[in-house]
């Protein structure tokens, strides 16, 4: 499978990564090569084999329903550029 330029443009947009027009073509080649490499896995016959999600059959650890975190807005906002009071701010997203 190879990716065309429009698909690459769309992926970049969805990921909010700015890609200059002249780099779209080489990027499409690189991504297509990666996909081609991964596609080798399709050669393995997996009919009737359940997907493996973990090497050992583990049951996820569950958290108790206890409040033991939060209540530290200063730490949460410590690296926020342009914070106002206890809010994060971003450029306005609606008109």
């Amino acid at each position: 499978m190879s990716l065309d330029i429009d698909t690459v443009k769309n992926i970049a947009l969805l990921a909010r990564i700015r890609v200059a027009d002249e780099t779209l073509e080489p990027l499409a080649h690189e991504l297509s090569a990666i996909i081609g490499w991964v596609e080798q896995l399709a050669e393995v016959d997996t009919d009737g084999v359940a997907p493996m999600t973990s090497v050992t059959e583990t049951i996820p650890d569950l958290r108790e329903d206890v409040v033991n975190d939060g209540d530290r807005p200063d730490a949460v906002l410590a690296n926020a550029p342009d914070g106002v009071d206890a809010f994060y701010t971003v450029p306005k997203v609606v008109e």
Binding site: D69, Y88, V90
Partner: protein
């Protein structure tokens, strides 16, 4: 009784499916130990997981699973022992990770059903498609600053149960009944507080229309984030009429997301860009698939309380209530509990009448809920006892009730203090009857001439003369005897 829209080209049927987001009642969030409480200071209930700091890992809160399974059982639904959390990817400032952890292909709860109670006592079944667990996003405030959007992440990671109905709902009334029923079931179960003002119950409405008799579904639109039962009903009405208008003027309905503007009473397009729906779901590598055991599900099933439908059935069977009255009483758990206290050891129908007519109207007038009723169930019960044993008449009981509503007083004490005890002493009543007949010879003649209706007027006069304290049946009997004699 089907809801139809009369168009120029004939009748149109409305097809509705609802997606309800119900906040699972828990102390902590779905994947972190931060609190879920409503109305706290901005960003005070945010862990590094909720703010998606690099390297932070989600750990599932077991209580959320329990609440989802419990709700599923309450919806008569299939519980999926294996379910998977996936990442739903989209970009928005109040979604710090750039993805929402949700369930997509394998939700924890599968198909179920809910029985609606309609106003005329009929019932209708609506299918449930699925229930899955997901995180809520944070909150964006757009009106605080001309250039910036403020973001509060307190809601980020709050556990939501998304409950998706099948497109079985056929009009605003049914949609309202569905929401109220869902809310009642979850409040009985204790899995969601159902508070729509605080956003613990929100609703997306899918609406399409088709000409009566058509079997296929037409294109639907989705009205996002409607937050009251009344608005859901209004939005459906407006949107269905808009769609009928589009078809009848030769146009086509476009699949899109719309917003309901309650002020203007109309829906409008959100003009969402088409790529917004490319969510690129994939299983979250930070979370193992969830595996439940049948024993776990059975343990939860064993602790289910009596649910609204069962309670309604019991009220009809053991108290002889009409289905429409029974469904009103069971709709709010607290009202049902109040009613049962009043009905305990008394006549169920009388208790039902007093709770539904007199009590509900007082609560309405005073703007109170049944939990802070000025009249306790115990005292209302005592009032009914005073009526049942003949101490006071039904008319006096209403007066005593009004006093109780104002003072919260004890009915026996009020009757005693105001001297309202019914006169059962025959001679006292006889004296009153004699006086009234003697004072009104004209009316007495009318009765003798065959005008039976005048008896009611006489009863009224005597009740007035005795300040309502005479026993109306006794007065009636005595009057007839004396007037005929």
């Amino acid at each position: 009784m089907t809801y139809l829209i009369q168009g120029e080209t004939g009748d149109w049927e409305v097809v509705i499916g609802l997606e309800v987001h119900a906040q699972a009642a828990t102390a902590a969030k779905l994947f972190s130990g931060a609190a879920t409480e409503f109305g706290s200071e901005p960003n005070s209930q945010v862990s590094f997981v909720d703010a998606a700091f690099p390297g932070m890992l989600p750990v599932l809160n077991g209580k959320c699973i329990e609440q989802a399974v419990r709700t599923g059982l309450g919806l008569n639904a299939e519980i999926n022992l294996d379910s998977v959390f996936e990442r739903k990817n989209y970009f928005y400032p109040d979604l710090p990770a750039g993805y929402q952890i949700s369930q997509y292909q394998q939700p924890v709860v599968g198909e179920g059903k809910v029985t609606l109670d309609l106003a005329d006592g009929r019932t209708k079944e609506v299918g449930i498609e699925r229930l899955h667990l997901e995180q809520d996003a944070g909150k964006s405030l757009h009106d605080q600053d001309p250039r910036r959007t403020f973001v509060d992440l307190n809601r980020s990671g709050v556990p939501l149960m998304e409950i998706v109905s099948k497109p079985d709902i056929r009009g605003p009334e049914e949609a309202g009944a569905y929401l109220r029923k869902l809310r009642a079931i979850m409040r009985y179960l204790g899995t969601c507080d159902g508070n729509m003002e605080q956003g613990s119950l929100r609703c997306d409405v899918n609406v399409s229309v088709r000409q009566a008799g058509e079997n296929t579904l037409r294109t639907r639109t989705e009205i996002k984030n409607v937050n009251s039962v009344r608005f859901v009903m209004q939005a459906i009405e407006q949107e269905a009429e808009r769609q009928v208008g589009v078809y009848e003027s030769g146009g086509e309905v476009v699949q899109e997301t719309r917003l309901y503007d309650a002020g203007k009473g109309e829906t409008r397009s959100m003009r969402a860009k088409e790529y917004a729906h490319d969510y690129r779901y994939f299983p979250d590598p930070d979370l193992l698939p969830l595996r439940l055991t049948p024993e776990y599900v059975e343990q939860i099933r064993a602790t289910l309380p009596e649910l609204p439908d069962q309670r309604k059935q019991r009220y009809m069977e053991s108290y002889g209530l009409k289905p429409e009255d029974a469904s009103v009483l069971v709709a709010e758990k607290e009202a049902a509990e109040y009613f049962e206290k009043v009905a305990e050891g008394r006549d169920g129908k009388t208790a039902c009448n007093w709770v539904m007519t007199n009590l509900f109207s007082v609560l309405n007038k005073q703007g109170r809920s049944v939990t802070d009723s000025p009249i306790s169930a115990d005292k209302l019960g005592k009032l009914l006892d005073l009526m049942a044993d003949g101490t006071i008449s039904g008319r006096i009981a209403k007066d005593v009730f009004e006093i109780m509503a104002d003072t919260g007083g004890d009915p026996a004490a009020i009757v005693e203090e105001k001297g309202l005890t019914q006169i059962t002493d025959t001679s006292a009543i006889e004296a009153a009857v004699d006086t009234v007949i003697a004072d009104n010879p004209g009316q007495a003649e009318e009765y003798k001439a065959g005008n039976q209706k005048v008896i009611g007027w006489f009863v009224g006069q005597i009740m007035k003369a005795t300040q309502g304290k005479a026993n109306p049946q006794q007065v009636n009997q005595m009057l007839r005897a004396k007037l005929s004699g």
